[in-house]
Amino acid sequence: MFFKKKAMRLASAVLGIAMLGSVFAGCGDEAASSDDIKVGANFELTGNQANYGTACMEGLKLAVKEANEAGGINGKKITIIEADTKSEAAESVNAATKLISDDKVVAIVGPAVTANVIAESDVATQNKVPIVAPAATNPNVTVKDGELKPFVFRSCFIDPQQGTVMAQFAARDLKAKTAVMYIDSSSDYSKSLGKVFKETFEANGGKVVMEEAFLAKDQDFKAALTKIKTANADVIFVPCYYEEAGKIVKQAREMGISCPLLGTDGWDDPKVADIAGADALNNTFFSTHYFDQDAEAQSFIETFKKEYGHAPNVFAALGYDCGKLLIDALKRASSLDGDAIRQAIEATKDLQVATAKITMDPSNHNPIKEAVIIENKDGKYELKAKIAPEK
């Protein structure tokens, strides 16, 4: 027994030295072969969510380009390794696995859409590679069955915050007593927002008198809108993405619905005004991540326009924020080990990004970040309120 123990000790010592050696050797190799820090960018580059993924990717690339021009991370440049989720949850997992095992990235940014982030998060946890999601607002992105996913972060606010903010705005500022909800039944985003809106609105003394549904990519909303018109509600809550938002606002006004329409961050895109027209958009309000006329956002918007020749939409801004968050953490991290990066992201404090100043909440991996409410007025955005999350 004694002998055996001694042999074990000897063996482990030898093994330990060998491993230490290999660690140093590894370091030497890495320094010789490449100076770059590899960051994975797993986004919806093709498929029906490609407009969100490609916009995020543009923002992320800009953040990385700026960081590299400013000297990189302690002298090392960041390289982005692109991967495509093809707008499918299963492909998102494959792409993340490839980034981790083949490309050996230190962290992953993306994807844009909630379902794809949730799918990929197990791979990240198993391999201890941190992922930061730029735009996934569903609460379940960072927690699973009430437990925090140690390596999954996001850099935007969460749906309950938006739903609450809009319901309170409807009840208190617009003095609405009745509301209709028109929900995209093919999207978790829309459904979870509807749920929170209803709870908060009814807790504030209002009543949701009708709930109708549509599907993403629908073209015609007039039948449901004809019915919604009969409810004669004070406000209509339409949490959805911009393409449908534009069409719904346009058709609602054509049908003679004149009450305020309320939306969420999915509405934050110039396309809404293109599709609906400025007149139809009057008397509509939505919550979003930032107000594009804020002084802090201007330098981002200018640089972005110079780089890509068009104005950034909100997904581009969020992709940029996410890049900023990760770059800041990489600078502060004690090493490029997954745990060290995770701790550095958790310690993010008062970091100025394009949309706000953010502090990471280590207890739920969501940043503490205010939401803004914007009114569409004659084709322009007007800031109505900035609301910090309730604790």
Binding site: T46, A50, N51, T54, D220, K222, K227, K229, D274
Partner: protein
């Protein structure tokens, strides 16, 4: 709003939506009538038509009618090209091969377009003034009337081609039996090619009208209307021209009524439920009779 009022308003909504389904369904049914192919790429041809119309309006600064014609011609030629390259080599292959090819063509058109025009939706400029007409308490707008009007004109032209011209006669003959028609001296390849051309041109017209009416087009816009038009074609009796129109309008009206009086949540369930019911109880469709003349 009382019941009758809402009913009539939903009828207007339904007929204008149904006109679009009808235009797309016509192409499905013509192609099925002749080569027994369910052309799953048809919805994507409709999408390409919308984009050609869009570029004709924005880049070439055409007004709506010339843009519609340009789109119909170019998309018609594209339809012929697709047939020549993808389907013709499989003319004597098992039907499942050509069906799978159609799905492949569909994906090809979707993702090639996504590559060239980016996945971002485009918005049509306002090509015609959209005046809302209040007829009593009902709202009909200029664009809805334009859609119904153009659909009607195209259907009259199509009926003329099929019933009165030599090409139409050849098409009708080929739809009975391609081989026998060939024995009678009909150039079947040319007839099939023209059928794809006409069907694609109709889809292009639908695409442009949808672009103008709903003001937004994107590379994946053809998937759902393509499926709905397929349901419309089956509902009316696939292979029968008046059936496609009837099926399209009925489907549009049913969707509007279900959204209006039951719940919009059930709308698509109703549309595809109809497909199942038709297939169970009257597989030949509403207008389908065994001895009916087909195109």
């Amino acid at each position: 709003m009382d019941f009758t009022h809402q009913f009539v308003q939903q009828l207007i909504n339904g007929v204008s939506l149904g006109s679009i389904y009808a235009l797309i369904a016509l192409g499905y049914t013509m192609i099925y009538g002749i080569i027994k192919l369910i052309n799953f790429a048809h919805g994507d041809i409709y999408m390409v038509g919308a984009y050609i119309g869009f570029f004709a309006v924005t880049r070439a600064e055409m007004s709506i009618v010339p843009a519609l014609l340009v789109s119909m011609v170019v998309t018609g030629l594209l339809g012929m090209l697709v047939e020549r390259l993808a389907y013709k080599p499989l003319r004597h292959a098992p039907r499942i091969s050509i069906l799978i090819t159609a799905i492949g063509v569909s994906f090809f058109l979707e993702y090639a377009s996504m590559y060239f025009v980016t996945p971002t939706p485009r918005t049509f400029p306002n090509v015609i003034d959209n005046i809302a007409y209040n007829i009593g308490p009902f709202v009909v707008n200029g664009q809805q009337m334009m859609i119904m009007g153009i659909t009607l004109i195209l259907m009259v032209i199509l009926t003329y081609i099929v019933q009165k011209t030599k090409l139409g006669k050849a098409m009708r003959a080929a739809s009975f039996d391609v081989e026998t028609a060939q024995l009678m001296g009909i150039n079947a390849d040319r007839v099939i090619s023209y059928t794809f051309c006409i069907g694609s041109a109709l889809a292009a017209a639908a695409g442009v009208l949808v672009g103008v009416y709903y003001n937004s087009i994107d590379p994946l816009m053809g998937i759902m209307p393509g499926l709905k038009a397929f349901v419309a074609a089956v509902l009316g009796g696939i292979g029968i021209l008046p059936g496609a129109v009837t099926g399209g309008i009925i489907l549009g009206v049913i969707e509007a009524m279900v959204s209006g009086f039951l719940s919009s949540t059930f709308r698509d369930a109703a549309a595809f439920g109809i497909l199942i019911l038709v297939l169970l109880f009257k597989p030949s469709g509403l207008l389908g009779k065994n001895r009916r003349e087909k195109v």
